[in-house]
Symmetry: C2
């Protein structure tokens, strides 16, 4: 049985970008498969009393994060520019991701992150998302219709509620097969090493 | 010339404990010396609008941190128990640390962290701090008198103001010889690897 790690991510989250770009590759090195779990971090932030990103709320924290992202992306060989506005509205992207099977979800999510952080695209734009779907070989119109269905919207709401129930408060968050949470792009390696020590 | 890394820490900070316990050793492996820089994170938190630790403010974040500390300390071979109350009042400890030269400051700080997180001691207790000073071979009364002097209190206030000027908003924070900040216990290795790529 292939062991799996859950990757809980938010499309507008900066640190989710380098995480998404290497998650499948890093996990595969440990014989682990990534289960891509998009959710709406903004909903959880509102429960925490925040109306915007803590990186906007606290200037020192924001300045640090932008510099840190430059360093991390350079080290990982990723192009990086600041999205404007920040944070972007990731609702449409999350709905589309929910409508895809896991493999396509990973490919689609990487395309959205590259558009947002390497190409300066607006990820709420339906045309951008349709193009990303076509780029990964999907039937864009069919997926879009599924994405905007009531059932799919409910599925995304439920997934966000599940994130909150699991105690997730930030993105990216890694959840191992034995239910441990590791918060942050920089903790993927820790999560995978943890999994190596725990029987399936 | 020996390269140095600044270790900005707060005595009540949980993640500063594993950081303090390995900082000198990890840095030495890169030929780097640690400059110990205690400051008062609570002062900076108040500027950010927080009246207590964000781990108390946000239950999910707090629950995660306590579990994460258990894992980190187990991995590093450190005993760990939750201080009560949390956060502790680290003002006296920070004043004493400021009154010591750098080498003794490291040894004293490790003793205070062990007392707090491994032995359940109250780190605001002057007797505990005097014992820690004696334990590392210092003249406890003499250091205490210096620690409580107006000049030393001002020096700690100035160091806290300097932390804020540098853009520090959490602990531990590592600052490299070329002025880069790395926030978090888990970023020490990144900071040291960064230093290896930058000429002195």
């Amino acid at each position: 049985m292939t062991r799996t790690i859950e990757f809980w991510y938010e499309f507008a989250s900066t640190y989710s970008y380098p995480a998404a770009m290497r998650a499948d590759r890093a996990a595969a090195e440990h014989g682990v498969q990534v289960v891509w779990r998009p959710f709406l971090l903004g909903v959880i932030f509102r429960y925490m009393g925040w109306t915007t990103s803590p990186f906007n709320e606290h200037p020192a924290k924001g300045a640090y994060m932008w510099r840190d992202m430059e360093r991390i992306c350079a080290k990982q060989g990723l192009d990086f520019g600041r999205p404007s506005p920040f944070p972007q509205n990731g609702l449409n992207a999350a709905r589309v991701a929910m409508a895809l099977p896991n493999d396509a979800r990973g490919a689609f999510s990487r395309a959205v992150y590259e558009g947002q952080f390497a190409q300066g695209r607006d990820i709420s734009d339906p045309q951008f998302l349709m193009d990303a779907l076509a780029q990964i070989g999907q039937d864009a119109s069919a997926v879009w219709d599924t994405a905007m269905s009531d059932a799919n919207k409910t599925a995304l709401r439920d997934q966000t509620a599940q994130a909150q129930t699991l105690g997730i408060f930030g993105a990216p968050t890694w959840r191992t097969h034995d239910g441990e949470l590791f918060w942050g792009n920089d903790r993927l390696q820790d999560a995978l090493e943890w999994m190596d020590t725990v029987p399936v």
